[in-house]
Structures are given as structure tokens and as C-alpha cells.
């Protein structure tokens, strides 16, 4: 009896086709794993509406590492937490856009379907390992809980898997440590626990929100190396938020620069470092001692302050701090457009092509 082709082999066919697809020239690009379009998130606070995210668009491919950089308050965290609808609500609300993950719009999923994605296909490593783990729950239980939400395993099996994950992220004597509480671990070890948790259900995308900022420098480097190694082993895509352009240079395939809830520039990492086009990006890179520096530098070297996001902004948000600002900058906000293939800039007078205005 011959039946219709089962969906599994259909998938297999599709995969094999895309494997043969030419990658050069972008003629038949592999469909993106994550495709964010015009994502807009606002906070309705007592002081008024905070326009935290003003229509950002980007995509992440399978196995790719996208870095998001920008000053504090530029909307990096809100941007990535919106993907899993994890922003605090109220006051936060995603008011527009779409988030297509493997073809499904996450913004349209019901709570149950969204929970399947959270911690499953997409997982998060949060910024502060000191506060991001439940202080009164054994770390093993916290990992096991994640596993059991997504895989049909017994408690025993899930625990074994948790131990395996702990050993994979380099925690010594994992079979013992699995029964410890978070306060019995150092900061770096806690972040390893977070990573073990995030990897426990073989996600296709990991969102890492400044996972090393709270740690000291040597531990930071260890964590970066760990993620890099796991990423290449497992082929997981990563969105890595960072203040640290040194780390970004080592880790990322692409970089998106955020300013005041907008992506102002987006390019492959070498391209961005070699030929930055947006005045803000140039400012950021100038604040580095050397472009390929391993020295950690905070993104603070540009004069002036980022705009207050309370209420509507007119024109380019960077205009008050920009040396190249003209009347059109103050009147109209430039859209993010490609100046060269795969290099997008939102600037009327970008430094690469001389501008569109």
C-alpha cells in the first residue's frame, strides 16, 4: 500500500534541497530561522508612553550569531524579550510587527503554543546570574523543570540529563552539584548553570542578554569561549546582546546597532568594523583603542545623552548628538536601507555612500 509522502520525509527533502542551494550571490538564500519585522513595543507608565522599541527588523539564520549592541536604555533587552513575549505586562505591550520563527508568527500564538517554544526551540540566558535563578530551589530542579516542560522524560531521566548538561558546561562534580542551591555557586558557575539550562532542550535559537556583564573579566572570557564552542558543536543560532565590542568581534557573524529603540545600522561583523556608515556606529568604534582590540570598552565615549523615550520623537533620534545633522535629520527619521548588499544604515548622510539626501 502506497500512501502519501509522510511529512517527515517532506521535511527531509526540503532540507536536502536547501543544502544544495547555492549560497553565493544570495540568489536562493536559506530562509531565516527568525524574521523580525517592524517590532514595536511600548510601556504605558504613569508618566506617559515609553517608546522603547520603534519598529525594528532583523533576521537570524540557522547557526548564525547576531550581536546587538547599543547604549544602556536603547531597547536591546526589550527587543529580545519581546520575541518570547516576556516583557513585563502591564505596563509593557507589543503594539505592532511580526516575529516569524520557522514560518510561525510568535505574536499570534496562544499561550500554550508559546510555552512550547519558550525554553524549547528558543531559550534565554539572562544578564545577571545572581538574580536570575530561584534562590530556594536546587539548581538541578531548576534545570529538570525546563527539561520536563518539553520532553517526555521521567524525573529520574530528566535529572540525569541535567547532570549531563552541567558537566557539558564545565561544572566539576556535576552529580554532586546538581543538588546544590544557587547561593552555593560563584557568579561564573551560576552563569554556567543558566547556560546548561538554556541548552537543555537543544534550542535552535539562544538569546543571550549581556550574559557576561555581571562577571569579572577572566570569567567573561571563559563564558564567551564556552558559548562559542557549544554553538559550533550544536549549530545553534545565537542573539548576543553586548556592551562589549571586543566580545562582539570574536563571536558575531552579524552586528545590529541599536539607538533609541531603532536599529540604526546592521552589517556582517567584518564589514561593520571595517566600514561603519552610521555616525553613531563610528562614534562607538572610535571609542575603541584599536578596532581589533581585546580591551573591554564600554560604549560611552560619545558626547551627550541618549534621548528620553517618553513621548514621540521627531526626526533622527541621534540628531542632537550628531556632527553631521542637517534640517532634514531634525524633521524626518531616516529608514534603515541597504547601502551595499547586506549592509543597512538608517541615516540621511551616511559615511559610506555620502547619503541619500
Amino acid at each position: 500500500m502506497i500512501q502519501a509522502v509522510p511529512p517527515a520525509s517532506m521535511e527531509a527533502m526540503e532540507t536536502s534541497v536547501s543544502n544544495f542551494a547555492p549560497l553565493e550571490g544570495g540568489l536562493q538564500p536559506e530562509p531565516a530561522l527568525l524574521e523580525v519585522r517592524d517590532l514595536t513595543t511600548k510601556f504605558y507608565t504613569v508618566d506617559g508612553v515609553v517608546n522603547a522599541l520603534n519598529g525594528i527588523s532583523y533576521s537570524v539564520r540557522k547557526g548564525e550569531c547576531l550581536a546587538i549592541v547599543g547604549e544602556s536604555g536603547s531597547g536591546k533587552t526589550v527587543g529580545v524579550l519581546s520575541i518570547l513575549r516576556l516583557i513585563q505586562s502591564p505596563p509593557g505591550k507589543i503594539v505592532g510587527g511580526s516575529i516569524s520563527f520557522k514560518g510561525t508568527d510568535l505574536l499570534k500564538l496562544d499561550d500554550n503554543a508559546l510555552r512550547d517554544i519558550r525554553g524549547g526551540a528558543i531559550s534565554v540566558i539572562f544578564q545577571d546570574p545572581m538574580t536570575s535563578l530561584n534562590p530556594v530551589m536546587r539548581v538541578g530542579a531548576q534545570i529538570t523543570e525546563n527539561i520536563m516542560a518539553h520532553e517526555a522524560l521521567t524525573r529520574r531521566q530528566a535529572r540525569d540529563k541535567a547532570i549531563e548538561m552541567l558537566s557539558r558546561v564545565g561544572i566539576p562534580t556535576p552529580a554532586k552539584r546538581v543538588d546544590d542551591y544557587p547561593h552555593q555557586f560563584s557568579g561564573g558557575m551560576r552563569q554556567r548553570v543558566m547556560i546548561a539550562m538554556a541548552l537543555s532542550c537543544s534550542p535552535q535559537l539562544i538569546i543571550a542578554d549581556e550574559p557576561t556583564t555581571a562577571l569579572d573579566v577572566t570569567i567573561q572570557a571563559q563564558i564567551v569561549e564556552l558559548v562559542k564552542k557549544l554553538q559550533s558543536e550544536l549549530g545553534t543560532a545565537v542573539i548576543w546582546i553586548s556592551h562589549d565590542l571586543g566580545v562582539v568581534a570574536r563571536l558575531a557573524d552579524r552586528v545590529a546597532v541599536m539607538y533609541a529603540g531603532h536599529i540604526v545600522e546592521s552589517a556582517p561583523v567584518d564589514e561593520l568594523y571595517a566600514r561603519p556608515a552610521h555616525p553613531y556606529t563610528i562614534g562607538l568604534l572610535n571609542s575603541l583603542p584599536r578596532l581589533d582590540a581585546k580591551v573591554k570598552t564600554k560604549l560611552q565615549a560619545i558626547g551627550g545623552l541618549p534621548p528620553n523615550l517618553l513621548g514621540e520623537l521627531r526626526g533622527c533620534p541621534f540628531a542632537p548628538r550628531c556632527a553631521f545633522a542637517t534640517d532634514i535629520c531634525r524633521a524626518q527619521n531616516p529608514a534603515l536601507l541597504e547601502v551595499t548588499p547586506s549592509h543597512g544604515v538608517a541615516c540621511w548622510h551616511d559615511r559610506l555612500t555620502g547619503g541619500r539626501a
Binding site: 518570547l84 516576556l86 510555552r115 519558550r118 539572562f126 535563578l133 534562590p135 530556594v136 525546563n146 516542560a149
Partner: protein
């Protein structure tokens, strides 16, 4: 283990302190000679009364009397009740079951109502369920318990005649005193649960929990509530004292034959040793309950160890 020993020693100090204060205050109100002698004093000369006073030891300074009381008490002798003509400690022990019954029912009632209501309020902030329970809690916290007792009596006892006004014997007798006693702890624990839950719901680790894809029920119970219990358990420790102390008023109003009412009567009749036995017993129970709560606390919060 040294932690437990230290806590026990602390409790002993507290019990001593309470008994000294009670003894001193009672002493300040005059010695009990006249009351003990009663009408008999009318037929005695001043000389005879003075001899009686010396014989009983009431002529000595209060701290000497206290010292001899303690000397006897540690040997299990709390003195003799002048009015009941039996050992003071026995008077109190006989009243214990009634007090424990009332206090524990009020205690269980308060937990069963306050914690679920607090949780419901916290997960539905500013919704009707939250507004109603917050309002009721405000009432419950501001109405004095004697006033609430009288209102209950008037409504359910006098007007509707559903429940007996005072006394003991059936479960109906327990209803009003238990409610009157539980009202304040219900209100306070409800508000505490609510605010503690709301507090913890903002924490980073709750966001982590949500990011794992576990059910919202699990997020609320094993992450938010479990952490919120810490401040609640502390409050419960204080509540044991409140219930025992509050029972003095409630027992007196509802004629509930417990330790509290006995102490009040003993104060009225200057029955020194009964007051002492009662106060010390209540303080002891309070100390033991607090010790248990402390142990529970370190069980809930792994960051607190017995060793440190």
C-alpha cells in the same frame, strides 16, 4: 545544632523576663493578704493580719519574693492558688486544652483563608477579587477584636439566635470566638501574602521561570509563592503570640474557659501564683512555637543554615 541551643537559651531568657515583669506589676498593685483572708479579716486584729502577712512572706521586697518563687518553680512548684485551693500550675494546665483548641482553630482558619486570598489578589491585581479582599482585609485589620466580638454576638447570638452567646461544649460555641480571634491574622496575612507575591513576581528568576515554558500555575506556586512564604512564616511566628495574647480578651468576652480567662480572673482576685503560672505557660508556648517557626524558616530558605 548550636543554633538550636542558642535559640532555646534565648527563649529561657524571654520566659524569665516575662515572668519578672508580670510579678513586679502584680506586686505594685498591693499584696494579696486582704483578698486571701477575705471577710475573715474583719474579725482579725491588725496584729494578726500582720502576722499572717509575715507568715506568707508578703512583707518581703518583691525581688526576694520573686527569687523564692523561682526557687520553687524550677522544682515544679508554682505555688498554691488562694482562691481555687489547688496547685496554681494545675489550675492552668486544666484550662490549657480549651485555649489550645480555640487558638489552633483560629490559626488554621487564618492560614486557610488568608494565603489563598492573598495569592488570588496578587495574580489578579486591581481586579474585583483583589479590590474586595483588600477592602475586607482593611476592615479586618482596623476593627478591634472586642468590638468585632460584640458585633458577632449581637448579630448571630442575639438577633439571629444561630449561635450560643457564650460558654463552651459544642462546636457552635467555638464559631464566634474563632472568627473573632482569626479576623486580624486573616487580614494581616492576606495583605502580607499579596504584597510579598507582587514583590516576588517582579524578580528576575520569575522571568527565568516563564522563559522555560513551564505552566503559569507552576510559575506562581513553585517560584513566586515558595519565595513569598519567607516573610509570611515570620509573621506567623508573631501570630502565635498574638493568638495566645488575643485569646485573653476573646476568652473573657465569650466566657471561653481557657487560660486567658483564668488569668484575667486571677488578676482580679490577686491570685498571684495562678497569674504567674499562666503567664509563664503562655510565654513558654510562645517560645516553643517561635522556635518551631525558626526551624521551618531555615527549612524553606536554604540560605539560612543552623550552623551560622
Amino acid at each position: 545544632m548550636s543554633y538550636v541551643i542558642r535559640r532555646v537559651l534565648q527563649s529561657v531568657v524571654v520566659v524569665f523576663g516575662v515572668s519578672i515583669v508580670a510579678f513586679f506589676m502584680l506586686f505594685m498593685t498591693g499584696d494579696p493578704t486582704e483578698i486571701i483572708l477575705g471577710d475573715g479579716a474583719d474579725h482579725m486584729t491588725v496584729q494578726q493580719i500582720e502576722e499572717f502577712r509575715v507568715k506568707m512572706g508578703f512583707d518581703r521586697p518583691w525581688y526576694i519574693q520573686y527569687a523564692s518563687f523561682v526557687g520553687n518553680a524550677v522544682r515544679g512548684d508554682f505555688g498554691y492558688s488562694f482562691t481555687r485551693h489547688q496547685p496554681a500550675f494545675q489550675v492552668i494546665i486544666e484550662k490549657m486544652p480549651a485555649t489550645i483548641q480555640l487558638a489552633s482553630i483560629a490559626f488554621v482558619l487564618s492560614l486557610l483563608i488568608s494565603i489563598p486570598l492573598g495569592v488570588l489578589s496578587a495574580i489578579n491585581p486591581h481586579k474585583p477579587i483583589d479590590r474586595i479582599s483588600t477592602f475586607v482585609a482593611l476592615l479586618g485589620q482596623s476593627i478591634p477584636s472586642f468590638w468585632l466580638s460584640i458585633l458577632l454576638m449581637l448579630l448571630f447570638g442575639v438577633k439571629l439566635k444561630w449561635l450560643p452567646i457564650s460558654g463552651s461544649g459544642t462546636w457552635q460555641h467555638l464559631v464566634m470566638p474563632a472568627i473573632a480571634l482569626a479576623a486580624f491574622p486573616i487580614a494581616r496575612n492576606m495583605r502580607l501574602t499579596r504584597s510579598s507575591m507582587l514583590d516576588f513576581m517582579q524578580k528576575d528568576f520569575v522571568r527565568t521561570a516563564r522563559a522555560k515554558g513551564i505552566s503559569e500555575y507552576r510559575v506562581v506556586t513553585s517560584h513566586v509563592l515558595r519565595n513569598s512564604l519567607l516573610p509570611i512564616v515570620t509573621a506567623i511566628g508573631l501570630e502565635a503570640g498574638f493568638l495566645l495574647g488575643g485569646s485573653v480578651i476573646i476568652e473573657t468576652i465569650f466566657g471561653w474557659p481557657g487560660v486567658g480567662r483564668e488569668i484575667v480572673q486571677a488578676i482580679g482576685s490577686k491570685d498571684f501564683y495562678v497569674v504567674q503560672a499562666g503567664v509563664i505557660t503562655l510565654a513558654l508556648i510562645f517560645a516553643v512555637v517561635n522556635l518551631i517557626i525558626d526551624l521551618a524558616y531555615s527549612w524553606i530558605d536554604p540560605r539560612i543554615g543552623f550552623g551560622s
